[in-house]
């Protein structure tokens, strides 16, 4: 176990932990996004999907939740430690330092990450726990007596600040993945050598897919396609 401690202590080890937890997160948001798109099939399908997760798959869901919570905590903890370390590595800053090639995505990892963390908490309180219930419909049920998550989605996204915050968070999620999907693989050392190591087609595809998939839902509500 000593090696795990060593790994945890080193900057590369911390990055590896961030990469692994980040990849878990990417897998999750991808599945979540695909699940969400069922909203376009209709209320019945969407509520049935939610009922499936909370019914027959409940134990599995709790395992997944445990993994995800651990991943988020570790991801945040490592990010916090590495950020502090980076700050300490340059106690006197430049008067002028121009970014040459670093992407907006890479430069917004930290603040974007904080925003995403806030969003995640809000999102869970909103759609999972119901502690925040802007539309006041969390406890409604649908015609079949199921928890009407479909109705909650539609009602919530009709509230401008809810959909606004959601859209903003998804934009940052896209940026976060554009850098994270690419850099996590490099951090784990699985990237193939390339003449243009800064190019990231796969990461771009993942980021756009996730961003678009999530963003379509509130847009669909606002446009009246989902109602």
């Amino acid at each position: 176990m000593r090696w795990l401690v060593e790994l945890y202590r080193s900057t590369i080890g911390k990055k590896i932990i961030m990469a692994v937890t980040g990849l878990i997160g990417i897998a999750f948001v991808f599945l979540h996004m695909v699940g969400n798109l069922q909203v376009f099939i209709g209320q019945n399908k969407f509520d049935a999907y939610a009922a499936l997760l909370h019914g027959p798959l409940a134990e599995l869901l709790w395992v997944a939740r445990a993994v995800l919570i651990a991943a988020v905590l570790l991801h945040v903890l490592m990010a916090w430690q590495l950020t502090r370390r980076a700050r300490a590595a340059r106690p006197v800053d430049y008067r002028m330092r121009e970014a040459q090639v670093s992407t907006l995505a890479s430069r917004t990892m930290r603040w974007g990450g904080v925003l995403l963390l806030v969003f995640i908490v809000f999102h869970i309180l909103h759609f999972t726990v119901g502690a925040i219930d802007p539309a006041g419909v969390f406890h409604d049920t649908d015609a079949l007596g199921r928890h009407d998550i479909y109705g909650d989605v539609v009602a919530s996204f009709r509230i401008w600040w809810v959909s606004g915050f959601y859209l903003l968070a998804m934009a940052f999620l896209g940026l976060h993945l554009f850098h994270g999907a690419w850099s996590s693989l490099r951090t784990l050392g699985v990237a193939r050598p390339s003449d243009h190591p800064l190019h990231r087609r796969i990461a771009a595809a993942v980021a756009i897919a996730v961003w678009l998939g999530f963003t379509l839902v509130p847009l669909g509500v606002i446009a009246g396609i989902v109602h």
């Binding site: 000593r2 090696w3 060593e6 790994l7 202590r9 080193s10 900057t11 590369i12 080890g13 911390k14 990055k15 590896i16 590495l82 370390r85 980076a86 300490a88 590595a89 340059r90 106690p91 006197v92 800053d93 430049y94 008067r95 002028m96 330092r97 121009e98 970014a99 040459q100 090639v101 670093s102 992407t103 890479s106 430069r107 990892m109 850098h179 690419w182 850099s183 490099r186 951090t187 784990l188 050392g189 699985v190 990237a191 050598p193 390339s194 190591p197 800064l198």
Partner: protein
């Protein structure tokens, strides 16, 4: 052409520093950047003032001694070029330039634009070598090395240790420097026996020197006057992960009989 320079002046390590403004007059586009500073310094000396201290030696882009932030870019605006090989034709009349030393906790300012990069030497001391003593090794051709491996090792070995990677990195990370040496030796058969031990020890030393971690901004690769690729960082991480997972505690086996 005429330029305005704002130069970081600091009399010694630990002393307070500030920017001073200097006018560089009649600068020829044929001058190198350091020759322009030479001219400014000649003027300062003639006026009885302390000239601007900056490190430099070979002035042909290979010794790695020179380097400064020029208006926010390590080694200035030209890609794949050290400060000494940057020429004034890269600037235009009336430009206002900000000259700052490399900034990192591990690189203390010694004076003005001169910094202490001995942390790099200590990273090499931690394992950036093949443990072979001078003597009679096998014939050089007894170890065949494919052209591609040799070329890739040479790509990594081209590092001149100037510190621009650290200077340009928003995290102040020395990953590119460390990765280049780990990769140079790790790619070659001669470096295999110590490959994983080397990765562990050099990374540990890099961390001890208070460099930041790598978040793959890519700024180091852009600033590197030798164009060393961040691919080597991926390689270092791979070696490090494998090393961490497989390393056994070193044992002292006694008994020389």
């Amino acid at each position: 052409m005429n330029l305005t320079l704002h130069v970081w002046r600091q009399p010694a390590a630990g002393a307070a520093g500030k920017f001073e403004r200097y006018e560089a007059r009649d600068v020829s586009p044929e001058m190198s950047f350091l020759e322009m500073l030479d001219v400014v310094n000649e003027g300062l000396i003639a006026a009885g003032q302390a000239p601007i201290a900056f490190d430099h030696d070979c002035r042909e882009g290979i010794c790695g001694m020179c380097g400064m932030m020029i208006s926010g870019a390590a080694h200035g605006p030209m890609k794949m070029t050290t400060t000494c090989q940057l020429h004034m034709r890269s600037f235009k009349d009336g430009d206002e330039l900000w000259l700052e030393p490399w900034r990192a906790r591990a690189f203390t300012v010694v004076r003005d634009l001169v910094v202490d990069r001995s942390a790099f030497d200590r990273i090499i001391q931690a394992g950036g070598f093949v443990s072979v003593n001078t003597g009679s090794p096998q014939d050089a051709n007894a170890i065949p090395i494919g052209k591609q491996e040799a070329d890739e090792a040479m790509d990594a070995a081209a590092c001149i240790g100037c510190g621009a990677c650290v200077a340009a990195c928003p995290n102040g990370s020395a990953s590119l420097f460390t990765a280049a040496k780990i990769s140079h030796l790790g790619l070659l058969p001669q470096g295999q026996p110590e490959r994983y031990r080397r990765a562990l020890r050099m990374v540990a030393q890099m961390d001890l020197e208070h460099f930041g971690g790598c978040t793959l901004f890519g700024e180091c690769q852009e600033a590197c006057p030798k164009g060393i690729s961040i691919d080597f960082i991926a390689r270092m991480n791979r070696d490090y992960l494998r090393a961490a997972a497989t390393a056994r505690e070193e044992r002292a086996v006694g008994g020389t009989g």
